[in-house]
């Protein structure tokens, strides 16, 4: 059964790690999660039938905060759960989801190269879309100035 009651179960199971639960419509649910508990929460959701990682991305909130945003849904229902994990901007690190959702790999690589968020234990954390010499530029950060001109 896949419906909004999952959010109640989620808050009950992780009372300290899940906060700000909001259900804006029938098909959407939003919550903030503790960045150190990401893997356990995702494993819990996977066991509950949320077997599809639809999207993974980063958001930059300068000067001190970054967010990793997960959109978890399932192959049998319309509910999309948006989970946001805050991480410090000066040391952006979070656990990789590759063990739980196979397709997290490319999303994590993309988020890494565009935001500089490191995913612990990601099996192959290298640039995906950008040229290799742009590693370390983090173009989607809000303070990115443009492609460097070495000459």
């Amino acid at each position: 059964m896949i419906d909004k009651t999952i959010m109640i179960e989620l808050s009950d199971k992780f009372p300290n790690a899940v906060s700000g639960v909001d259900v804006p419509s029938l098909n959407r649910a939003v919550a903030r999660i503790d960045s150190s508990k990401v893997k356990e929460i995702m494993q819990f959701l996977l066991d509950k039938g949320f077997d599809h990682l639809s999207c993974l991305s980063g958001v930059d909130y300068p000067p001190d905060k970054m967010e990793v945003v997960y959109h978890i849904t399932s192959y049998s229902g319309p509910l999309v759960i948006t989970l946001k994990a805050s991480i410090p901007r000066d040391d952006p690190k979070i656990d990789s989801l590759c063990d739980i959702y196979w397709n997290a790999n490319w999303y994590e690589r993309e988020t890494y190269e565009l935001f500089g968020i490191r995913f612990n234990d990601c099996p192959y954390l290298k640039v995906l879309l950008l040229p290799e010499d742009m590693e370390g530029e983090w173009p989607l950060r809000k303070d990115y100035a443009g492609y460097p001109n070495p000459t």
């Binding site: 098909n27 959407r28 939003v30 077997d51 599809h52 990682l53 639809s54 999207c55 991305s57 958001v59 930059d60 945003v69 959109h71 192959y75 049998s76 229902g77 319309p78 999309v80 948006t82 590759c98 959702y101 196979w102 397709n103 790999n105 490319w106 565009l114 099996p123 192959y124 640039v127 995906l128 879309l129 950008l130 040229p131 173009p139 989607l140 990115y144």
Partner: protein, 376 residues
């Protein structure tokens, strides 16, 4: 499925060869590099390298006003420009708290389905050239011409349609459109049935596609694919049914599935989806209400309230999602595009491991990738 199957982990041994397919190769719809480590004729490891036409669209979008993004959203994938317009507009409409008019909803469904037909036609055409079936490509391009003309009659352009607007669509149907559309689509329906017969009865084609590149339902879910490759494995997952948007819940249609999950099934799903789309368009043309095709006051200068939205659509290639964060200004704070082809491209290397070099073209092309959308 392990992550080792998506990359080449070690240099080739003396009995192995490292083979580059690409970045420019006739089998590929755009520049991407498929590295294969082969031993004899069997693929041991495969790795896909993308990003050759990375346009930085997410960054570009964050630097434009909402209305300026509208024509750019076509360019994510030109074969799905109507779907991309529509999903973007629905996202912004949700942020603004407005709704398109009833007639506009039907018009958007009409263009979305026409868009799906022409995308599938070209996808099948490109694919059949890759398995050495050039006749079908010419047939498909001929059929597609009629469908593109139907889109052109509404939107005025042939590739980048830029048709949806916040709260409606750009313009109404031209006079006599229904007769024109029904005539073209009636002929297309006959031709698709004939092409289907041709593809299903050609013994060489069957040998090249049946049982090749098999993706079981469990694997497909694990790999995170959506759209025709997933439905070819027997999973009935179609966002038009799962999460009905616009007026899809008022329309009658079937979700096309096949059970085998091989190359043949993936192409068959697309062929049958064309017939289903024609059926939807016939209903749309019958049921279309009269009235306004756009709201009286179209919000051209949009400053949505702070908030966020994740809008999804069933693109010709699968699940297209757009995650928009608004901070109250006239530009999105964060614009994330979840392209369907990105997910399908990621699933390609594990599918290739263990197959023959001769089958790479068939398998890669049957995923119907769109490099423009993978790279964004």
């Amino acid at each position: 499925m392990t992550h080792e199957s998506t990359q080449i982990t070690s240099p080739p041994r003396p009995s192995e060869i490292l083979l580059h397919l690409g970045p420019q190769h006739p089998l590929q719809p755009g520049p991407f590099l498929l590295d294969l480590k082969i031993e004899g004729e069997t693929i041991r490891e495969a790795e896909l390298k993308i990003g050759y036409i990375h346009k930085g669209m997410e960054k570009v979008f964050e630097d434009r006003t909402y209305i300026q993004i509208l024509p750019l959203s076509d360019r994510i994938c030109y074969l799905a420009s109507n779907s991309n317009n529509d999903v973007y507009c629905r996202g912004v409409e949700e942020l603004l708290g407005i709704e398109p008019t009833d007639r506009a909803k039907y018009l958007r469904v009409l263009t979305n389905e026409l868009c799906r037909i022409q995308s599938h036609l070209l996808g099948i055409g490109e694919y059949t050239t890759d398995v050495g079936f050039l006749t079908m490509f010419i047939y498909m391009v001929r059929e597609r011409e009629g469908v593109v003309s139907l889109l052109e009659a509404i939107t005025g352009s042939r590739l980048n349609h830029n048709y949806a607007r916040f709260g409606g669509v750009a313009n109404d149907l031209p006079p006599g459109y229904k007769e024109m559309a029904l005539k073209t689509l009636g002929e297309l329906k006959k031709m698709i049935k004939s092409h289907d017969g041709m593809l299903s009865s050609d013994s060489i084609y069957l040998k090249r596609t049946k049982g090749v590149g098999v993706l079981t339902a469990k694997q497909a879910k694990e790999l995170g694919v959506a759209g025709p490759p997933l439905r070819a494995s027997g999973v009935e997952y179609d966002l038009r049914r799962v999460e009905p948007y616009l007026v899809y819940d008022e329309l009658d249609f079937n979700v096309i599935t096949q059970t085998d999950g091989d190359v043949f099934s993936r192409v068959k799903v697309r062929l049958l989806e064309i017939l289903e789309s024609i059926y939807i368009i016939e209903q749309v043309l019958d049921q279309m209400p009269s009235g306004k095709y756009k709201q009286d006051v179209m919000p051209y200068i949009t400053r949505p309230k702070p908030g966020e939205v994740y809008s999804r659509t069933e693109d010709p290639r699968g699940e297209m999602g757009m995650y928009i964060i608004s901070d109250g200004s006239d530009k999105p704070y964060r614009f994330r595009i979840r392209g369907p082809a990105f997910a399908t491209a990621q699933a390609l290397p594990p599918l290739l491991v263990g197959t023959y070099v001769a089958d790479v073209a068939a398998i890669a092309a049957s995923m119907d990738s769109c490099t423009s959308e993978v790279d964004r």
